[in-house]
Symmetry: C2
Subunit: 307 residues, 2 copies
């Protein structure tokens, strides 16, 4: 079951209270593809990079089954670059540098063989670019999920609402859910957002876990309590990649299976933050993932005898 | 199985973004007793009130099986009074007034028939008062749990450490855990605190749920996502009362049963915040509690097929 992943492939330079990197490979679609590649082998990547994006990284993705024929390589421009510094709580960060470079020209044209994909993940991008991708599909995919951010709520709300109305599941964080809905209560926010088009809403709360809303149902997945969060960059994209990777593997988009998919996404995100960049996502094995999933079972499993 | 509850019985005046009360009945031991009374009938209350504490409230507690022979009534002084104003997020608040009144004289003397209790809950109080109660027990109870707060970490840390070393389970919030341990990571904080005496540590994170640590085990219980949090006052004491109420009813202090007890405590806290003061805790029935517990099962229940 093929999965189209759309989003940035980029360089990041990251400072945390615990360390600092030079330019390393990042980008929403990079993290999502590495995460999803642990579950599905037909990932169709849609992105844009400059002449400076490392060939070894592209080869590594190819070797994991990621089809890069939708990745445009611009010969005379640099790749998107973001630099940021995390605060002690690792939930807040300051952006130091944003160099759009090639991303400013991103106008994705899906290769013909991408246009029948059953699963589509739209990473955070200009909403109009996200909707363009949906319009290029030959038939309605089984599931389209999208990420976005507060910046588009402030600068492109009309376009954003159009794109949101076209997808099945929206993934945003708690402050974005409040901003999009003008509701402080996340339950009220979810009810309002679910009238805007998506049938599923996932609210990511970082170290405080994630909530899945669907109709009147709600499911909560914790984040795994970790001794050290080394680098949170890409955790949300990794979560999304693990989530849709599990759904594409199982071809089951029931609410019950979405709950499992959220746990899978949370498990993948818990690996992501253990090292800088995509390093952990490359080195983990199926046995590591299964052990981590079992930790989630232990973490939330309890018996209630309603006597 | 009798349960001793020690703590304040008081008046509160509360302002939230959604409403405001005059003086209403509050206090850690009041909330805990109401919560626990849904599970056990032999609650032995240890507290101090002034001439102004309403007789109807004492009668209501008695009718629920709360033995008030450990509650000193001071005829010429007023009850403890606290007034506070909550911010929009309902997790932060400003104290407007603290009138200690009778609480400044609190020197609990346990009635002889309280001194064989198997379960003891020490609400937030001067640590030296909490340890005094433990010293008065005829034999080591099956389980002693205690709450405390940052104020004692700043003003009575030596006494606090002594008291903490005497109890089986410590209940504190996330910022208190960080302050007590000098560790930002809650996992590291828990490891350090578990070397200070308690075998169990519960870290309360308000709307973000609660964590239970024991040895190398960790369990996470979410808070129920609510449309409206009307008044968070007493939620932590209600959580503690539900937690120890379930343990005292089942007489089982295994880690497995503690997990269930945390869900019970979370369920009781979710009722507490739905109205001002203790109102919801008085009106709910066993059927309401069972339905709420089932909501928690639905909230976190998922299937992982490790294939």
């Amino acid at each position: 079951m093929s999965l189209v992943v759309v989003g940035s492939m980029a360089f990041d330079a990251i400072e945390t209270p615990f360390g600092k990197t030079d330019k390393i490979v990042g980008g929403a679609a990079t993290y999502a593809a590495y995460a999803a590649s642990h579950f599905v082998k037909e990932i169709q990547q849609v992105s844009i990079v400059g002449y400076d994006f490392p060939k070894e990284e592209l080869d590594e993705l190819s070797s994991r089954g990621v089809d890069l024929s939708g990745v445009e390589i611009v010969p005379d421009k640099k790749s998107f670059f973001w630099s940021g510094r995390y605060h002690m709580d690792m939930n807040t960060r300051d952006t130091l540098i944003t160099d759009l470079n090639v991303l400013g020209d991103f106008d994705p044209k899906l290769p013909e063989h991408f246009r029948n994909a059953e699963f589509v993940m739209l990473g955070n991008l200009l909403p109009r670019i996200q909707s363009t991708v949906i319009e290029q599909m030959n038939k309605r995919p089984k599931l389209i999920i999208m990420d976005t951010m507060n910046f588009w709520m402030e600068n492109a709300m009309d376009d954003l609402k159009v794109t949101i109305s076209m997808v099945d599941a929206l993934l945003i964080n708690d402050s974005e859910a409040r901003q999009l809905s003008n509701e402080f209560s996340l339950v009220k926010a979810a009810k309002k957002i679910l009238t805007m088009g998506p049938k599923y809403l996932i609210i990511k709360k970082g170290e405080h876990g994630a909530l899945l809303f669907h109709g009147n149902n709600v499911f909560f997945a914790p984040a795994l309590p970790l001794e050290d969060v080394f680098d949170p960059t890409g955790a949300g994209d990794t979560f999304a990649g693990g989530f849709i990777g599990h759904l594409a593997r199982t071809k089951d988009i029931s609410f019950e299976n979405m709950k499992t998919a959220i746990i899978v996404g949370s498990a993948m995100a818990s690996f992501c933050v253990e090292k800088f960049g995509t390093e952990r996502l490359k080195e983990i094995t199926k046995a590591d993932i299964d052990a981590r999933l079992n930790e989630f079972v232990q973490l939330v499993n309890f018996d209630i005898a309603l006597a």
